[in-house]
């Protein structure tokens, strides 16, 4: 127990310290984790052999990440990506693998070893790239999408590669390997299917994928609805984790990549009302596991071997990354990626990745590569992963600024579609949402009442289940990028919390807030809301207008009278705000009371029958001159 606590302490401490420092220096979290790993592993020897086991465990973070990426991707978007996915992704694996094989043969490595190493190294690091792109907000860019297509295709291509590797077994290695277990990553899991004929295996695989799609569409929503109704947050979190793990398990059982399966499940759930809630529940687990994964990558660098073979490892790493970048750049050109996006694509996925680790251990077990070669390749992969954050910094500081200057000039005049979050979908929020949507804006609407969300979805309103006063949920709804936040809930303490948090996170955000009364207006104003609307003020004014009309007043005069009243009232509110105190009831606040008397004097006079001042203002501008004009 103590041992475990100590390990956990070391890992967490390293993560917190290194990531904070890295972030402060603007290096991104991934580099921080990697450095933390190097420090606690090879440098200080605080952690030992358990890193390998931990790594297998931490790789589950990648599975979770793909689930989250899937959640962000509508099925339609995925379908629209198909050319890129197959074309860009397929060509990347084939061409990179091919070129690396030829290079290997050219320097005298046997063709089969070259080929295995080539394809192992053609894989990139989903974990590093997606994490970094997400951090920089580049996932949705053209370059980011292309990176993602390639990574997703690599995920798929691992399966055939795993199938081919055992065929290349070298007799002289089999002898030395026969003692050790022959199982591998995927083959072990799919052992129970090995006796079946091909068509049966295919059938089971297709059925499993079909099950994920169908169950995701039809079963998951009633399931989550029941859980949401229980209002127990941790049960919802547990259910989210259960879903991810169940799918991963199913995929492993039929010999498919768990990451691919959960990605698919994510896409299926992307349209569901539980999307943002799931995102914010899974996100911290994914973050921690990925962090742990990066640390283990850093910790597993074998420094003794690295110093011994430094020139070879360095040359190999440079050659691999340069080849990958060159191939990617060429593909980017072919697929018409422009400017900064092409560079992002070329440098972004130029590293080797964690699939390489899996494939390497499998090649050793399958007697395809000698352990000495695998150890060197392992170093190359780890090193190239560690260099990736450095490349991103280079991209940020040197390459992207060059293109941005050009793009800045030709920015178009059409106002871009604003990202708008609406918290609360009661009578108030619904009207707001309808008007915004009718004007062509995409809104993210949140409400914590699952039945209401469900009902409105049936009527075609894009809404999501979740408690908007939870910071993490606001984040997954896009708080950072949002332009406008409408707080339309009637629960004032929660509304205040939302406004305060949102203001802290996004200083340029325009916050429109719903208030019940004047005191709410003051509170919301102090919390940082931009526009504050008293919920029944405007409707009362309209009702007053009808009443005035009924007395026989001319409709245009009614309108003017209403306007003058509203102007007075709002100006008064602005003047009263600084005098209002949370701790003193307004009637016991002499300054406040005095100001109220002073400001509303004119209006009250008018109401009491002394109508001079109020009428002056109403008739201003339409008073006929006392002498003829131009005389």
């Amino acid at each position: 127990m103590n041992g475990f606590l100590f390990q956990a302490f070391i890992y967490l401490l390293a993560a917190v310290v290194a990531v904070l420092i890295a972030k402060r220096l603007g290096l991104g979290s991934v580099l921080g984790y990697l450095i933390a790993g190097v420090v606690i592993g090879p440098l200080l020897h605080l952690v030992g052999n358990e890193t390998e086991d931990l790594q297998t465990f931490a790789e589950f973070g990648v599975v979770m990440m793909l689930f989250l990426v899937g959640l962000e991707l509508q099925p339609r978007t995925l379908w629209d990506m198909r050319t890129r996915l197959l074309g860009l992704g397929g060509l990347q694996v084939l061409v990179t693998g091919g070129v690396l094989t030829l290079l290997g043969i050219a320097v005298g490595v046997p063709w089969d070893v070259s080929m295995v190493a080539g394809f192992v190294l053609s894989m990139s690091s989903t974990a590093i790239v997606l994490q970094t792109l997400g951090e920089k907000g580049l996932l949705k860019s053209d370059g980011g999408q292309s990176c993602f297509s390639v990574l997703l295709f690599q995920d798929i291509s691992v399966i055939p590669i795993l199938a081919v590797i055992p065929l290349l077994a070298r007799p002289e290695l089999i002898a030395s390997q026969s003692a050790s277990h022959s199982g591998g990553h995927a083959s072990q899991a799919a052992d129970w299917m090995s006796g079946m004929p091909g068509w049966e295996v295919t059938l089971i695989t297709v059925a499993a994928v079909g099950f994920v799609v169908v169950a995701g569409n039809y079963l998951s929503r009633p399931f989550f609805r029941i859980i949401a109704a229980s209002k127990l947050r941790e049960v919802f979190t547990a259910a989210g984790l259960l879903l991810v793990i169940a799918i991963a398990l199913l995929m492993t059982l039929v010999g498919l990549s768990p990451a691919l399966g959960t990605f698919l499940a994510g896409v299926v759930l992307a349209n569901s009302e539980f999307r943002h809630e799931l995102e914010s529940d899974i996100e911290p687990f994914k973050g921690l596991l990925l962090g742990l994964f990066f640390i283990t990558v850093g910790a597993s660098v074998n420094f003794t071997l690295l110093w011994d073979q430094l020139p070879l490892v360095a040359a190999l790493t440079a050659a691999v990354m340069a080849t990958k970048a060159a191939v990617l750049y060429g593909l980017g050109r072919m697929f018409k990626l422009q400017g900064a996006d092409r560079w992002l694509f070329a440098l972004g996925v130029a590293q080797a990745g964690e699939f390489g680790f899996v494939l390497l251990s499998f090649t050793v077990q399958s007697a395809v590569l000698a352990e000495s070669i695998a150890a060197i390749l392992l170093l190359v992969i780890a090193l190239s992963m560690m260099l990736t954050p450095v490349l991103f910094i280079l991209l940020d500081k040197l390459i992207i600024p060059r293109f941005n200057r050009v793009e800045g000039k030709q920015s178009d005049e059409i106002p871009e579609q604003a990202h708008i979050i609406i918290a609360g979908l009661g009578r108030f929020g619904q009207v707001i949402n309808r008007i915004l949507v009718a004007n062509g804006h995409k809104t993210v609407v949140l409400d914590y009442r699952a039945d209401i969300v469900d009902g409105l979805r049936k009527m075609g309103m894009r809404s999501f289940f979740g408690d908007a006063s939870r910071p993490d949920l606001l984040h997954s709804a896009g708080l950072r990028e949002a332009k406008v936040l409408v707080v339309a809930i009637d629960d004032m303490p929660r509304a205040l919390e939302i406004v305060k948090h949102a203001r802290r996170e996004n200083s340029s955000l325009h916050i429109v807030a719903r208030a019940r009364d004047r005191a709410d207006v003051y509170r919301l104003y102090q919390a940082g809301a931009t526009d504050i609307v008293r919920e029944v003020f405007d409707s009362s004014v309209r009702a007053a207008g009808y009443a005035l009309s009924a007395t026989g007043m001319h409709p245009y005069d009614v309108e003017k009278s209403k306007n003058v009243f509203v102007q007075h009232d709002r100006a008064g509110l602005r003047q009263l705000a600084p005098l209002w105190r949370e701790d003193i009831p307004v009637f016991d606040n002499p300054e406040y009371v005095a100001k109220v008397k002073e400001i509303t004097g004119a209006i009250e006079d008018a109401m009491l029958g002394n109508r001079g001042a109020f009428l002056d203002e109403l008739d201003r501008g339409w008073t006929p001159p006392t002498a003829p004009a131009g005389s």
Binding site: R620, G621, P625, A629, G630
Partner: protein, 204 residues
């Protein structure tokens, strides 16, 4: 140095072909105050006090608007009705605008012929704008020859729009720096992008 105020009135800015670009140019001229009236008063609740204070703080007033039924858009008319108050700009004590200059910057959809006094004796553009001119003169201001773009509907396709916008910018700068030929009010009928007479010191 003259303090210039541009009051821009255009209710259909989404469909604007030239005016919006002109407004952008005007708002970027240094030391010129630019106001989009439809943005400030979307519900026509014009604040008379603020508007009058704004007039007092400037020496030259520019109305920039598309010609709607041979007149200003309705908010600009409302603005005149409310702000040019008895006792402020005319009548007893109504001398607050005396000596200021006024320029109408007009875009017209029709071709020049549609507003040509020779073709249509009664309805040349200067005649059509005469209510505006008369109002300005009653307020004691100098009515400068309007700066006009005819045929604004296809000014973008035949390349006149950029020249007009550029000329508008230099016209505002000239007004700001008092470089406009002082004799033009009596001499010129219209100003346009090919014709903005400058004062003597500029020609030298």
């Amino acid at each position: 140095m003259s303090r210039v105020l541009v009051l821009f009135a255009h209710p259909g800015q989404r469909h604007s072909r030239v005016n919006l670009a002109m407004a952008k140019a005007a708002s970027s001229v240094a030391d010129v105050t630019f106001a989009d009236l439809y943005a400030e008063y979307p519900t026509f609740g014009i604040d008379i006090d603020i508007e009058q204070k704004r007039l007092l703080a400037h020496d030259t007033v520019v109305f920039q608007f598309p010609l709607y039924w041979y007149s200003t858009p309705s908010l600009l008319k409302e603005w005149q009705d409310l702000v040019l108050e008895y006792g402020f700009s005319y009548g007893p004590g109504g001398d607050k605008l005396q000596g200021k200059k006024f320029l109408a910057v007009v875009t017209a959809g029709g071709r020049p012929a549609a507003y040509d006094a020779d073709v249509n004796r009664m309805h040349g553009l200067r005649t059509l704008l005469s209510p505006l001119q008369r109002s300005v003169e009653v307020c004691g201001m100098t009515f400068l020859p309007p700066f006009v773009l005819f045929g604004a509907i296809d000014a973008n396709s035949d390349g006149r729009a950029p020249r007009h916008i550029l000329a508008y910018r230099s016209l505002l700068e000239a007004l700001r720096d008092d470089r406009l030929d002082p004799a033009i009010p009596s001499r010129e009928n219209f100003l346009d992008y090919s014709h903005i007479p400058m004062g003597k010191e500029m020609e030298a």
